[in-house]
């Protein structure tokens, strides 16, 4: 860790602080927020659906493969699929995928605006550029990514159930009983806390990387790469931190 970490961390905090002004026009702000929610939420739905369905299915098949003892009830498969999905696979894998899709998009969009002087144009007009550009993206992420997490958990458990039934690993009843047997409300609550945290990391880190892009097209690409890498590393770090603190 060198001094540049502190430089970037300080600048990141100042960047976040600079958004906290009242938007110039509330109706424009809400329009932008709605647009971003559509982009992040609806736009990410297919990749989230595909990822979570297959993760659920794979978890069922692999758990069954490892259950070699006949003494263990097959309902355990349902328990493992639902718990691991809610605790880890739903929020973490979904957000790692979204850091690639949403993070890279945010960073390249803002980075392109930076190098083509569009951000300068906003500032010359007297518009708070971080508040206008980044704040709607961050709020949209915080609203939509937890919703995507719920969808991912649902589809992942459904994927696990379908895989179990189709391959004859376990029956409908065994899966449902297993999934319901150890369900705790806190597990879902914990999953949502993770989704909120990861959503903030993805959108704010990517906005920061894009906003401070310097140079040309090559640097926009570099900013997008940094946005994805830093978001992913921070997601994994906070994944561990939250588990230590809350479980």
């Amino acid at each position: 860790m060198n001094l540049s970490f502190f430089y970037h961390f300080g600048r990141y905090l100042m960047f976040l602080r600079s958004m906290l002004y009242r938007p110039e026009k509330m109706n424009v702000f809400f329009q932008r927020l709605f647009d971003e929610m559509t982009k992040i939420g609806i736009g990410s739905l297919p990749i989230v659906a595909i990822t979570s369905l297959f993760i659920g299915a794979v978890t069922t098949v692999q758990t069954a493969y490892q259950l070699v003892s006949g003494l263990i009830s097959k309902t355990v498969i349902g328990t493992i699929v639902s718990d691991s999905t809610m605790l880890e696979l739903g929020p973490t894998i979904t957000c790692l995928v979204l850091s690639g899709k949403v993070g890279a998009h945010i960073s390249s969009e803002i980075g392109n605006m930076r190098i083509s002087e569009q951000i300068d144009a906003l500032e010359v007009m007297g518009i708070n550029a971080p508040g206008y550009l980044a704040l709607p993206k961050i709020l949209a992420g915080i609203i939509m990514i937890p919703i995507l997490n719920i969808i991912a958990i649902t589809l992942s458990i459904y994927g696990g159930y379908v895989a179990g039934e189709l391959s004859g690993i376990l029956t409908h009843e065994q899966f449902v009983v297993g999934a319901q047997s150890t369900f705790k409300g806190f597990t879902l609550f914990f999953s949502m806390i993770k989704a909120f945290t990861f959503a903030f990391i993805i959108t704010s880190v990517s906005s920061y990387q894009g906003y401070f892009t310097k140079g040309g097209a090559l640097e926009v690409g570099e900013s997008s790469t940094k946005a994805v890498v830093y978001s992913s590393v921070l997601i994994l770090f906070f994944d561990y931190l939250l588990a230590e603190l809350l479980l």
Binding site: Y21, E24, K25, V28, N112, M113, S116, E117, Q118, D120, A121, E123, V124, M125, G126, I127
Partner: protein, 245 residues
């Protein structure tokens, strides 16, 4: 009128503006000329508030930009229009939405009034029937004109043009110059143009400032230019080099 008083600016260890004192007059085309790296763009960025000088004062009609609070600064900025070198049109918005943008953000106009104003601005820069197009669908010259239309959408007092002719053919360049000149005189705007183009200087330059290595080397009228050229070697070299472009 815009006045710069003892303005100095550095980037890390390198000083790029040296004690600049200059005046830019309302209703006139004030041109800043000089070779690349001479400090023209940094000076313009300091004036519009994109860079902050270490010392000195930048006064917009006696309002010192460097001592205003954030809110007051935003209010002055709403009196500023800027035509960027690369036009800086918002590429996710249509032409109509680009011009409407400052009106939506800062005026209390109804949607119908905004539409009328957008059409007026487009007509003023001699463009029609491109309202629904995106910036990527129009030519460089048209983009410049849309940039001017966006700059004048609000009732501005100050217009900044950064290399308005860059990347344009000579005929379109002259059209843009003429348009900027008309708008400056018509609205009594304080217009400041960064340019390398000596044709622009001779066609529309009312007040000219020559920058050399971060310092003001000469300031005067277009009529005085040929006299100054004989006395200042750097200005003479710059003008002569421009003839071959």
């Amino acid at each position: 009128m815009i006045e710069l008083i003892n303005v100095n600016k550095s980037f890390e260890d390198k000083q790029v503006l040296f004690d600049i004192n200059a005046q830019f007059f309302s209703g006139k085309n004030n041109l800043i000329i000089g070779a690349s790296g001479g400090g023209k763009s940094v000076m313009m960025k300091c004036m519009v508030g994109l860079e902050r000088p270490e010392s000195g004062h930048i006064e917009f009609d006696k309002r010192d930009m460097l001592s205003l609070d954030e809110q007051q600064l935003r209010e002055v900025r709403r009196e500023i229009g800027m035509l960027f070198q690369g036009t800086a049109l918002f590429d996710s918005l249509t032409i109509e939405q680009n011009i409407e943008f400052p009106l939506r953000m800062f005026s209390k106009m109804t949607a119908a009034e905004r539409r009328d104003r957008v059409n007026f601005c487009l007509q003023r820069v001699n463009l029609e029937n491109i309202n629904k197009k995106f910036p990527s669908e129009i030519s460089g010259g048209m983009k410049k004109r849309v940039g001017i239309a966006r700059a004048i959408a609000l009732d501005i007092k100050y217009l900044f043009c950064d290399e308005p002719n860059s990347g344009l053919d000579p005929i379109t360049s002259r059209l843009i110059d003429a348009l900027i000149d008309e708008i400056t005189k018509e609205y009594g705007i304080t217009n400041i143009i960064n340019s390398h183009d000596m044709k622009t200087v001779f066609d529309i330059g009312d007040h000219i400032l020559f920058m050399y290595k971060g310092a003001k080397r000469w300031e005067g009228s277009r009529q005085d230019l040929s006299h100054a050229q004989k006395e200042i070697k750097e200005l003479d070299e710059f003008i002569k080099a421009s003839y071959f472009h």
